[in-house]
Amino acid sequence: MSDDSNNINLTLEVWRQTSPVDKGRFETYEAKGISPDSSFLEMLDVVNERLIHDDKNPITFESDCREGICGTCSLMINGQAHGPNKGQATCQLHMRTFADGDHITIEPFRAASFPVIKDLAVSRAAMDKIQQAGGYISVSTGSAPDANMIPVPKEAADLAMDAAACIGCGACVAACPNSAAQLFTSAKVQQFSLLPQGQPERWQRTEAMVDTMEDFFGTCTNHGECYEACPKEISLDFIAFMNRDYVKAKVKNRSLSGQTH
């Protein structure tokens, strides 16, 4: 606050929608005197504070940790999921990315399986469904062997960690022209498929999670927009791994249930 001279003025076009059934519309707001050191969501906090001061309803948007790990925040900013910078969630985007006088369009994540709840908040419940379908290793508390019983090659552990870095924000779906969830699902499937602990249920898990994904989301046609939008830069390779495993799973699972041979 010691130096306000760098502050910038912006014009926002914000999507407002009172309920899931409301048609929705853009509304224009002036965001004046914004510190370039503030985050994008802090800029929206300021706009909301002023709306409340003017006795108007604040813009509904969701966020929680504000450090890029919980995956709660979303937003399409000028048509890009989580805004223009690579490897960042919206909460990590700072206003110095923008110039004085910029117009910024702010919309919710758009996908048929992400219905709008209100303004910029959407439901991403379908992502939980995919994980409930098999995103786990069946190990009840107390039954685990000593942690060092099963060595895991460092490369496999590191690759599993790369997949596990997914924060479940849904940017991959929002960025995809088909609203596909392959990047998310593959990260969740492959974390387990890469580890020895994940092998016993590997084929059932892969089939169940992919099939559930297809109940809700579109088809992957290899645009790669998901990777561009991903705040954790999850690799497209996981999709290839998952597709390969899915084909194998289809065969193996039939064989396991006695339908072939």
Binding site: S39, T72, Q132, V139, T141, A165
Partner: protein, 649 residues
């Protein structure tokens, strides 16, 4: 063996249920003596778990595996978003894989000492015992802990510990452990054993004939107020750090569930205990919404300093060596920049208060890597801290390879919480508190990498045993139906509150009052506290609370998603908590761990305990909105760890 010097007595209202016998076998023996619920009877019991962080997810999934009917609640859209997700550093366990002399006893000893002798020995020993099982469980779930080239688990030393007992998963150990617990929860949701309620906030605990019978929730999408009945309720709802407004907690972290239980009779213990983390990024302006923590491993190579001159106008590189004050190295030659969190934090506050702070708002101190870069080369520093340097550059717009970082302490964790006995039950029969929501294991100061350990210990390995002892006595009792007057009355109260807030129609937003409250709490009940300031805090908070109730403006309606309604209720509870926090800090006329009373310090400026008078847990009993809480004391006995005074010279 050193007997405690304590001559006071425990309040009859607080029975800790700590079993007799040798501390090393106490928990094992107690597990045998507790009542069991037979496997076919477990399905007759319903347990509600509120919160789905590490403690809540692990408890809900484990109880479901055992055969109990579980209803789990989170106010998030998914259980995976709970704030446990943000923990960076790691999780302690007494595995002794590195063969460097660690043991259950050493972890127990370090935790009691680190807590500045204000925790319950028996609970801490149990925590150290089950720590090893947590690592086994998480690894079996597929948590991708760091490994060495032989494929075995890697450990590191953390937070000044003299052994390497910390397991980690890059800088996101919290997310990985939570995803592990969440995967176990998903398995139980899929099987139908857990009924999962997302986007529902618990707003009351319901009690009938002195026993817990359920909760009242508000649906955050529709505003619908609902009752849910159960034989027991488990609160795993986290800490109260956001009473400071600016903290490293997530935006929605709050004290509401714990506080509503407090108002129903659960004693609230040690609210003055708060951990302040020294290496956070200073606030940039008044609209800052939260503070970001950077791993304190940075202090291994960074040197902390401020200018010797007051109101220095030059940038760091323009200040010659002779005009810099490396105050930690100067005051603590043995430990230097690696003094414990509370000592580093208080010293930063001292120099900033003197007017020697740095940065545009003069609200930070330098953490300078120039010497380390000259010594080890930029590539080495990049390999060690690259992700933290990137995070800093992104938030501040400054390049920390070229100019020193600016850091300042921020609230990070709260050691106080609902008082619980050895079974983790609160003073309300049938209401349990686990994880950060309870008070029990960290005393007055928590060691690094111990929060994840405690949350999972409670949820996986303690509560699932102890809750059976309570439920076994209720065999044959059905749950209280939700049309019972106790539920209907509680629902009406919750609905009335919502409408009351909407009808105030004042002039200032809920956030405004939260920010103003936070300023008082930070200034008066922050890193250093004194009698005058604490007395003023009580008055200032009460005055602001009056204004808040008369002048808050809550926009929107109660029938659709409305984050303003969510906030206003949570802030109202923070006001009540803040008043109690000020009182608790005022009557604890000693310094211990994260509670520093200026009047009680050694000549070296260290926290000076008064074991004769304050070797106790202060547990506060609610007496109604218009009356002050009553203080009860649980005396702490130290039979296995000798009390000593810390020194870091």
């Amino acid at each position: 063996m050193t007997a405690t010097m304590n001559s006071r007595t425990t309040s009859p209202a607080l029975n800790s249920l700590v079993p007799d016998g040798d501390i090393a076998t106490k928990w094992e023996n107690h597990k045998f003596s507790m009542k069991l619920v037979n496997p076919s009877n477990k399905r007759k019991f319903t347990v509600i778990v509120v919160g789905t962080g590490l403690a809540g997810s692990s408890a809900a999934s484990t109880l479901a595996e055992l055969g109990y009917k579980v209803k789990a609640f989170t106010f998030h859209d998914s259980p995976r978003r709970a704030h446990s997700i943000a923990a960076q550093g790691g999780i302690n366990a007494a595995k002794n894989y590195p063969n460097d002399g660690d043991s259950v006893h050493r972890l127990f000893y370090d935790t009691v000492k680190g807590g500045d002798y204000r925790s319950r020995e028996a609970n801490v020993h149990r925590l150290a015992e089950v720590s090893v099982n947590i690592i086994d469980q998480a690894t079996a779930q597929g948590v991708p802990f760091a490994r060495d080239y032989g494929g075995l688990l890697d450990n590191r030393s953390f937070g000044g510990a003299q052994v390497s007992r910390t397991f980690y998963a890059r800088g996101q150990t919290g997310q990985q452990l939570l995803l592990g617990a969440y995967s176990g929860l998903n398995r139980q949701i899929e099987s139908g054993a857990v009924e999962m309620h997302n986007r529902k906030e618990m707003l009351d605990v319901v009690i009938k004939d002195g026993e817990t019978c359920g909760i009242v929730t508000r649906d955050l999408l529709t505003g619908e107020v609902e009752s849910h009945s159960a034989h027991a309720v488990v609160l795993a709802t986290g800490g109260y750090g956001n009473v400071y407004y600016l903290s490293t907690n997530a935006m929605m972290s709050n004290v509401t569930a714990a506080w509503r239980a407090h108002r129903k009779g659960a004693f609230f213990a040690n609210p003055c205990y708060t951990q302040i983390h020294p290496t956070c990024i200073p606030a940039s302006d008044d609209h800052q919404s939260k503070l970001t923590l950077m791993s304190e491993s940075l202090r291994n190579d960074g040197r902390i300093w401020v200018p010797t001159a007051f109101d220095e106008a030059r940038l760091a590189d323009g200040i010659p060596e002779g005009e810099r004050d490396y105050y930690l190295e100067r005051k603590y030659p043995a430990f230097g920049n690696l003094v414990p969190r509370d000592v580093a934090s208080r010293n930063a506050k001292t120099v900033v208060d003197e007017g020697r702070g740095v940065g545009p708002l003069k609200n930070g101190v330098f953490l300078d890597f120039a010497d380390a870069i000259a010594r080890d080369g930029i590539e080495t520093i990049k390999a060690k801290y690259g992700n933290l340097f990137d995070m800093y550059a992104n938030i501040t717009g400054e390049n920390p390879y070229e100019r020193p970082m600016r850091i300042y302490p921020a609230t990070h964790y709260t050691m106080g919480g609902l008082w619980v006995d050895y079974h983790l039950m609160t003073t309300v029969p049938g209401t349990y508190a686990i994880g950060e929501a309870n008070f029990s294991d960290h005393g007055a100061n928590r060691l690094g990498a111990s929060a994840l350990m405690q949350g999972l210990a409670d949820g996986y390995f303690v509560l699932p045993y102890t809750i059976g002892d309570y439920l076994a006595g209720k065999l044959g009792e059905s749950v209280v139906p939700t049309n019972d007057p106790v539920f209907k009355n509680a629902e009406a109260e919750v609905a009335d509150q919502t409408h009351m807030w909407l009808s105030v129609n004042g002039t200032k937003s809920p956030d405004h009052y939260h920010r103003e409250l936070g300023k008082i709490v930070w200034d008066r009940i922050g890193m250093a506290r004194d009698k005058t300031g604490l007395e003023k805090a009580g008055d200032e908070i009460a005055t602001l609370e009056e204004e808040f109730k008369k002048n808050v403006r809550v926009k929107g309606d109660s029938e659709s998603m409305n984050t303003e309604i969510e906030k206003v209720g949570r802030i109202a509870d923070f006001f009540e908590l803040a008043k109690l926090k000020a009182r608790d800090a005022l009557v604890r006329e000693e310094s211990c761990g994260g509670h520093f009373r200026v009047e009680s310090q050694t000549e070296e400026g260290e926290a000076l305990r008064d074991d004769d008078n304050f070797s106790h847990v202060a547990a506060w009993e609610w007496n109604g909105t218009d009356a002050e809480q009553t203080k009860h004391e649980e005396q702490l006995e130290f039979e296995h760890v000798a009390l000593s005074q810390r020194s870091y010279k």
